[in-house]
Symmetry: C2
Subunit: 137 residues, 2 copies
């Protein structure tokens, strides 16, 4: 059973333009066509799209997702490669979390000072004075 681009757009929530875009950049390799040249998506395509959507929700970029899809396509257990990618992504996210956490704390501090009354504006002054530290980057 195959579906038109419109039907797939409905099912996935991805606009037709995005579906064509995914195909163009090779995430979806050549989708089958009907005699009139319109795209017909089969179950494998749908499954691939679902995969893309889930991986994207886990903060993988389209480039990384392409790598994962290649692993998925290759026969045999891809295991270690996928692990490597995931470990890298986890490390990245841990770093982001740490940075974000620290910044959040600093900003919260500034805001609390600000609410504490007194003169001036600790937020503005904080950025002027430099008591806000730089990230590890």
């Amino acid at each position: 059973m195959t579906r038109s681009i419109g039907a797939i757009a409905q099912q996935t929530g991805l606009p037709p333009d995005t579906l064509r875009y995914y195909e163009k950049i090779g995430l979806l390799r050549k989708v089958a066509r009907d005699p009139g040249g319109r795209r017909r998506y089969d179950d494998a395509d749908l499954s691939r799209l679902r995969f893309i959507q889930r991986a994207q929700r886990c903060n993988f970029s389209l480039g990384e997702i392409r790598e994962l899809l290649e692993l998925r396509d290759r026969p045999g257990p891809p295991r270690s490669e996928a692990q490597r990618l995931t470990e890298r992504k986890l490390a990245e996210m841990a770093q982001q979390l740490a940075d974000l956490n620290r910044l959040h704390g600093e900003l919260q501090l500034l805001l609390n000072l600000c609410r504490g009354g007194e003169e001036g504006c600790p937020i503005i002054e904080g950025f002027e004075a430099g008591d806000v530290e730089r990230p590890a980057r």
Copy 2:
């Protein structure tokens, strides 16, 4: 005391192109020129640039920083506006933190499964099966 664009680039770590860019988009309003037309940065410019850099490290976009700078420029305590901006940013960051945390947990789970031996690849399969949840977004 004023400095050339090269000197300011040294002091701030921002490349000359970026300094000219900041001026172009109005973060730095017209920088003074010498008789030959070259930019001369004064202490106020430097302080402004430091402000920009610190706010940027706190995840404010250049657009938001422009708002903060306008507040800073206006006489009188800007307080409540800066508070509002900061509260919004804090809320945004809290949301990002929550999302990132959840994703990190899910990915870690997948990776642990993966290291546990057995058949197949839980990472790949996780994205296929859909046990990874969607963000609140």
